[in-house]
Amino acid sequence: MEAFKEHVGLVVPLDRINVDTDQIIPKQFLKRIERTGFGEFLFNDWRYLENGDPNPEFVLNHPRYSGVSILIAGVNFGCGSSREHAPWALQQYGFKAILAPSFADIFRNNCYKNGILPIALPADVITSLSQAAHDTEGYQLMIDLEAQSVICSDGTAHTFEIGDFEKYCLLNGLDEIGWTLQYEADIAAYENR
């Protein structure tokens, strides 16, 4: 897994609450046996019209958000299906971090395994960051994982919580299976008791 330390990127606001993983990557794209090729289908049913053309109303299709890497969304982002194809699609589209007031549990776990940082911030902070992204073309944020901080261009910083282990894994791009296998003796002992 690619390590995550610091990131500066363009921000896109998605003004929706309870965005489910069926919207992030619809089921018709889950038949692949590879881990790649999902980015072009991210938010497919919102992003494209019936005839396959980009939906000009969908925020990701606005030219000003070309090259975005930070997504701001409403509460409970990533609810529903456990499909890891959702963080794969987000990551392969170019997203490095998602900011929301809250996340669904399985989705949040899946993000950590793929080098995407899910950042939960208070609802009023999310609202103001989202508003700023709407108001200011080219709006960027800096994310400093070591300091657990989202930093605005005016220097305002919002700290966020993350588990020590999740932070360690992201900072080091850790192979979690390798981590667990170092305790193989403990696993064997458990199995034999």
């Binding site: 003004d15 929706r16 609450i17 309870n18 489910d20 069926d22 919207q23 619809p26 089921k27 018709q28 889950l30 038949k31 692949r32 046996i33 590879e34 881990r35 049913d45 019936e50 409403g74 509460v75 409970n76 609810c79 529903g80 299906s81 456990s82 499909r83 890891e84 963080p87 809250s102 669904a104 549990d105 399985i106 776990n109 899946n110 395994k113 793929n114 588990g163 020590d164 282990f165 192979d175 979690e176 299976i177 981590w179 667990t180 296998l181 305790y183 193989e184 403990d186 696993i187 458990y190 199995e191």
Partner: protein, 466 residues
């Protein structure tokens, strides 16, 4: 110290738990299906790792499988490739597989309990969020992503943080026509689709105790629709009776010894939960969802809500989006909403008791003109049992299609999908946009309500249905 059932199962499965590390939790049973596993097996190969315990791993094909004649070739070549990949992976890593031609094939959350694989006090994972179903037998069961599937395949363990505990207590007697599906939809309506985030729910109370094991599965199944990590119900005599004699259940003295162990599982008197909610079964009415997530639900006697009545701007906007997608007007009585399709099936409501309940309503009646209705049994075993009881004949005579087992139109990965604009009464678990087919509109209901809706062509209050 007094402990909850979750805490007992959690502690019994800790391989390693030191204060400054994330706990390592042992997994007793790993269920695998074709859609979320191929990348996990590929990861094992790339890292030259093996499956640690193929004997604790069980695979089936359910999400992609066609529900039409199994003797015909599969026309969706990409789906066929995914199934073939699972077969190859199971052969390579020596994992038992109930494939599309197996008499035991079925939805992974139907066959687990059916085969006696699901047992009280065990930890069960699967790359599917509805793994919470298995909690109905007193297991700690939850859905995981593909990276975690790979982790469990390689180590038989997961790195897991402990969840909060959430007791949802339902006392009283369910009114006539109100089912397990209505209980869980009503709960989700109360706490919202993120109301269980971060928690393992234990369902308690006399109304839960009175449910059959299959009904308990329906309740636990949709725990994830409230965001809960897992849902569980303490085992009791009904649980032991359900398990006895099933293929993978302990036998003879081993079974008796297992029952003695299982009797230690229920939450201790006086143990405390992090959160609690109490509902009275008598207050629950048949439920129908009107929007685009399972929390957008109301009583069948109610009306489509008005966005203007929502408490926050976010909710107002979400309701507007939902009503636009669902093509519904605020204030419309639920029973005035007509449907084009009816789907009876899914890991929520495709077991024999669900089919019996739907067949009782369909018996001697006809599916309304302009409605197309289908029944998809949860497993080949359920299908055989239903056919032995003549339920297939009842459904066919009423004009329902009778299909082979699989996930089918719950998520429409196979050819069973809604066309854009079609409206469906569905016994499944998710009414997300496009879930049953791009542009399709889903209303979640119980099997009885689905059957009655098929007959009348619009939603009806099953309590008044003649």
């Amino acid at each position: 110290m007094k402990k909850t059932m979750y805490e007992k199962i959690w502690e019994a499965h800790l391989v390693r738990a030191s204060a400054d590390e994330v706990p390592i939790l042992y997994i007793d049973t790993h269920l695998v299906h074709e859609v979320t596993s191929p990348q996990a097996f590929e990861g094992l190969r790339l890292n030259n790792r093996k499956v640690r315990r193929p004997d604790l791993t069980f695979a089936t094909m359910d999400h992609n499988v066609p529900t039409t004649d199994r003797s015909l070739p599969i026309t969706d070549l990409i789906a066929a490739k995914q199934m073939e990949t699972l077969a190859q992976n199971c052969a390579e890593f020596d994992i038992p597989l109930y494939d599309i031609d197996s008499p035991e094939q079925g939805i992974v959350h139907v066959i687990g309990p059916e085969l006696g694989i699901t047992q009280p006090g065990t930890t069960i994972v699967c790359g599917d969020s509805h793994t919470s179903t298995h909690g109905a037998l007193g297991a700690l069961a939850f859905g995981i992503g593909t990276s975690e599937i790979e982790h469990v395949l390689a180590t038989q363990c997961l790195l897991q943080q402990k969840s909060e505990t959430f007791e949802i207590r339902i006392d009283g007697t369910l009114p006539y026509g109100v089912t397990a599906k209505d209980i869980i939809l009503s709960i989700i309506g109360h706490i919202g689709i993120d109301g269980g985030n971060g928690a393992v729910v234990e369902y308690t109370g006399s109304a839960i105790r009175a449910l059959s094991i299959e009904e308990r599965m329906t309740v636990c199944n949709m725990s994830i629709e409230a965001g809960a990590r897992a849902g569980m119900i303490a085992p009791d005599d009904a649980t032991y009776e359900y398990i006895a004699g099933r293929r993978f259940a302990p036998k003879g003295e081993d079974f008796d010894a297992a029952v003695e162990r299982w009797k230690e599982l229920p939450t201790d008197d006086g143990a405390t939960y992090d959160r609690t909610l109490q509902l009275d079964a008598a207050d629950i009415a048949p439920q129908v969802t009107w929007g685009t997530n399972p929390g957008m639900v109301t009583d069948v006697t109610s009306r489509v809500p008005d966005p203007a009545d929502m408490a926050t701007t976010d909710e107002k906007r979400a309701t507007e989006h939902a009503l636009e997608y669902m093509d519904l007007q605020p204030g419309t009585p639920i029973t005035d909403i007509p449907v084009d399709r009816v789907f009876i099936g899914s890991c929520t409501n495709s077991r024999i008791s669900d089919l019996r309940a739907a067949a009782e309503v369909a018996n001697g009646r006809k599916v309304a003109e302009n409605v197309s209705a289908m029944v998809v049994p949860g497993s080949q075993a359920v299908k055989r049992q239903a056919e032995a009881e003549g339920l297939d004949e009842i459904f066919r005579a009423a004009g329902f299609e009778w299909r082979e087992a699989g996930c089918s139109m719950c998520l429409g990965m196979n050819p069973d999908t809604l066309m854009p604009g079609q409206r469906c009464a569905s016994t499944s678990n998710r009414n997300f946009e496009g879930r049953q087919g791009k542009g399709g509109r889903t209303h979640l209901v119980s099997p009885q309500m689905a059957a009655a809706t098929a007959v009348t062509g619009h939603f009806v209050d099953i309590r008044k249905f003649q």
